[in-house]
Symmetry: C2
Subunit: 233 residues, 2 copies
């Protein structure tokens, strides 16, 4: 039986052998939700980078520049960190470069895995179906927040475990706990995410809209995958 495991933080990834796991990177608020929303709305590719400077260097080559610092879109950038911005028709067919601290760190740390995909509630079923077709074990890698365990990513990992349970063994206490956490919260995902630490750091109407959208399930039937330095469908 294939195995599914969960890593709650980049600070714990050294405990896992990623070389024989397909890794799913999870950063629900909001990096991986934005990636799914953008690529599901016709964006050609998304290149995650760690710094503003790397983003600007790609911007100089014609990439659309995305990202925030301290919750604010940078003035020289084209879009911030809201899934609604990623879905605008004007980005169809365009390449986006995006700065995300936690998400980019996880993608970097996942290199060496047979496959790196992107997970969010927005593409939950498509992701699960994809993982079921593969031979490899699966590691669900929560981006967390500055290394700290977070609720929304763990909850999503639990949702995936729940759907994979028939074909995959939940191999660790981390996987089982994510599963039970999701079981206890599955009736109202949005409510629990809205009570997370990250949600309380976001404020204002747009952020509340974003949280509600990031909790929506199966808006897109795509699985973003890393090819070289780019995420594509």
């Amino acid at each position: 039986m294939k195995q599914v495991d969960v890593c709650f933080s980049p600070d714990l990834i050294h405990q896992y052998d990623i070389s024989d796991h397909n890794v799913v990177v999870i950063d629900i608020l909001r990096a991986t939700s934005c990636m799914v929303a953008g690529l599901g709305s016709g964006v050609q590719s998304i290149t995650p980078v760690a710094t503003v400077e790397e983003c600007e260097a790609l911007g100089a080559k014609g990439y659309v520049m995305a990202g925030e610092r301290g919750g604010q879109k940078l003035p020289q950038f084209d879009l911030g960190n809201s899934p609604f911005e990623y879905m605008k028709p004007e980005w169809k067919g365009k390449k986006i470069a995006t700065t995300t601290t936690n998400g980019t760190r996880c993608i970097e740390l996942s290199k060496g895995a047979p496959e790196i995909t992107i997970g969010a509630f927005l593409n939950l079923s498509a992701l699960v179906e994809h993982l079921q077709t593969k031979e490899e074990n699966v590691l669900l890698f929560c981006a967390a927040w500055k290394g700290k365990f977070n609720l929304e990513d763990s909850l999503f990992a639990g949702a995936v475990c729940s759907l994979l349970k028939k074909d995959f063994e939940m191999v660790s206490d981390a996987a089982k706990s994510a599963f039970y956490l999701h079981q206890s919260m599955s009736e109202d995902i949005e409510y629990y995410i809205s009570r997370s630490n990250h949600a309380s750091r976001l404020s204002g109407f747009q952020a509340q809209e974003d949280i509600g959208y990031c909790a929506k399930i199966d808006e897109f039937d795509i699985v973003p995958m890393l090819k070289g330095d780019e995420l594509v469908v």
Copy 2:
């Protein structure tokens, strides 16, 4: 309002400021359960050490020597790692030196905290009442297993959060998740602990007896506390 936080692994402790938190070290299977059982049964003190050599050095000074390697009591030692062994009348008034890898590591990493106490289901209510009388914030520090998240320690942290909730704010997603995990499992703690990774590593009749005992609540009305290098009541 005072705050309660949870650290799921020694590999995450760098994220916390222990200097202003009373730290509770948790290693349910079986180090902290043994400590509570022993000190609650009249053992004078328990000195946790990392290595067999340190334990033997204390043994040479008259300490009772306790500990296991690979699940087996060492032949030169007086007792292994079962709470029942710690409760034997022959250890009343004696000093025990014990080797525990995960537990000792946590105690070392907690030095600098205003107070270091020992938590187990066996002394849950006494611990909670003690924490309520103190002014400081609380950090529940799960010993985990070789740094890996474990179910039984996290579940106990959630039990403490649940009882502290009236007077303490659950300040992080880790605390909230431990709380919800406990909520979803509180009806049958022993069942869930028996399905943990650690339980499946333990085998045989004695281990099953130990697990059942380590899931018992409030067998002892004591709070072991670190004084110098010794745990005492």
